[in-house]
Symmetry: C2
């Protein structure tokens, strides 16, 4: 399908160093939707995925602070809530931008679950910090009472909870959304899907899917969506205009147009940081190996030019 998946993260949703108010989220989203509308105006199918790190962090914190009166909800449920919250934000802010460029499409948010393997090795080695920082004493109590895995973050002087980050293997709502797109409605609506990589669920032996306390990398989840929908372009939007090799060293070099082989080489040599640029590049590699045609990593200001092959880090097969 001649369509594009845009995976929004970072600045698209929350100003770094911001206060995390809803007003601020709206302001950020308003600065983001213009370029999304521009892409839609080109007549291509547009699908939006997004991160939810700061948002789920806020809900986890409310869970704690409100525990006296309100039973805490598990992480999968909080993930569903952030999908509702951020989807609603896109549904509110994108349509006026679409109208300004004369595009008549409905924005629909579909609550999305992503299957992970119950025997994913990540479950034995939680690596993803979530929620706030704790004192050593608090960390001891949480470890004991909640069974949480805690890690000390020296740079920021506190303990944080670690949860597993298993690999996404199936987007459960994917087949239904794909049927909808294929029914000829692809350019009639803009689906917002797989927020936060999708709500992580495992398939039990009886066939039931059950939520788990985990975090799916949002770009790996988005890559799965792009493949499931057969879209030809996958754009990862982040806080920097592209990916770099020798990042932070004197030999640092920003990547423009690269071949799939070059990107694979850089990735194999460990050029991209784990938990940061690493999964973004990996998400793109998965997409391209599965038949995707174009992959870009860029920021909001450069997105339209990156999709046109004029900015950002980009890999084209055609």
């Amino acid at each position: 399908m001649s369509g594009i998946l845009v995976a929004l993260g970072g600045n698209a949703l929350q100003r770094s160093g911001g206060t995390g108010t809803w007003e601020e989220a709206r302001t950020q989203m308003r600065a983001t939707v213009g370029v999304l509308a521009e892409i839609a105006a080109s007549g291509r199918e547009l699908v939006i995925a997004h991160g939810n790190g700061p948002q789920i962090g806020a809900l986890l914190r409310q869970n704690e602070l409100g525990a006296r009166d309100v039973p805490a909800r598990p992480m999968d449920v909080l993930g569903a809530e952030t999908q509702g919250q951020i989807g609603y934000l896109v549904q509110t802010e994108l349509p006026p931008a679409l109208r300004r460029v004369g595009v008549d499409r409905s924005v629909l948010t579909v609550i999305s679950r992503t299957e992970v393997a119950s025997n994913d090795p990540a479950f034995d080695h939680p690596t993803k910090p979530v929620g706030r920082f704790y004192s050593e004493e608090e960390a001891r109590v949480l470890r004991k009472q909640q069974g949480w895995i805690m890690r000390y973050d020296g740079a920021r002087g506190g303990w944080r909870r670690l949860v597993p980050s298993p690999r996404p293997i199936a987007w459960l709502e994917g087949p239904a959304v794909r049927r909808l797109l294929e029914s000829g409605l692809g350019t009639r609506w803009v689906p917002v899907v797989a927020g936060g990589g999708g709500i992580p669920v495992v398939r039990r032996e009886d066939g039931r899917y059950e939520g788990v306390e985990a975090v799916i990398d949002k770009d790996l989840g988005a890559s799965l969506v792009a493949r499931e929908l057969g879209l030809d372009t996958f754009a990862v939007v982040t806080d920097v205009p592209g990916a770099a090799v020798s990042f932070g060293r004197p030999t640092e070099r920003w990547l423009g147009e690269v071949t799939l082989g070059e990107l694979e080489g850089h990735f194999a040599r460990g050029e991209f940081a784990e938990g940061s640029m690493g999964p973004k590049v990996e998400a793109g590699l998965q997409f391209l190996r599965a038949g995707g045609r174009r992959f870009v990593i860029t920021d909001i200001p450069s997105l339209a030019r990156a999709v046109a092959g004029e900015a950002g880090t980009r890999v084209r097969l055609d």
Copy 2:
């Protein structure tokens, strides 16, 4: 369309007198999905709407208790979060029940906004209590600092915030969902829509929709969905097996099959309590006057028989 809208409320989502844990919500939903699957097994289109009163109350309380660290989110955003939360619950629990009766349909939750008129008289006369009970001193402070309208509830000995309950006039995602259903996919998926009556939004002069601090009656919102989708049956599921006249008096009489004229008469005479059975009956009357064919009010145990015309309060035009 030969389809049915089921509006879930009360016991379908939370046990009365329960503790409000997620485990409890799952248990309640598991007791609900069997009859929904039975309806789907009849081959009819099935669309699900639901309330969100206790859920939005819990989020409002967390907003308060977490205010030290986490900026409070406005009510429209909390409404979107409850749609994600409850939609996810239905998406998790309904498919196993569908499989048990051999039905292959995807359950998709669509975040839904409902337009209300910015000049709706309800905005001048808030009537809907939300959130927890406050002391007189707290109420004084909230009135002053937040501008909240507060009302004393003598029976329960505390003050509560009142918000407006404007009338729903348009379901913004309705046309898109209708197109999807009409594209022949109606019996391939079960949409979960308009949770809590839909997120209340007003249309500004520049054409933008903006969320408001209000609560839409979930049954009036569901009625709008049933009309927009052209479904022929609308079922309001509540905690009692039907509606009654002279409710609570010695002459109390439960209504079985009634004509539209009879129901209109009872409604006009004020037989149904405001904020309780009143809006349910009104929602049904709106649906039937707009071309709907069957309307039932019943509880979960009686739902299948009520839809078959054998239980509950029911109005048929055919």
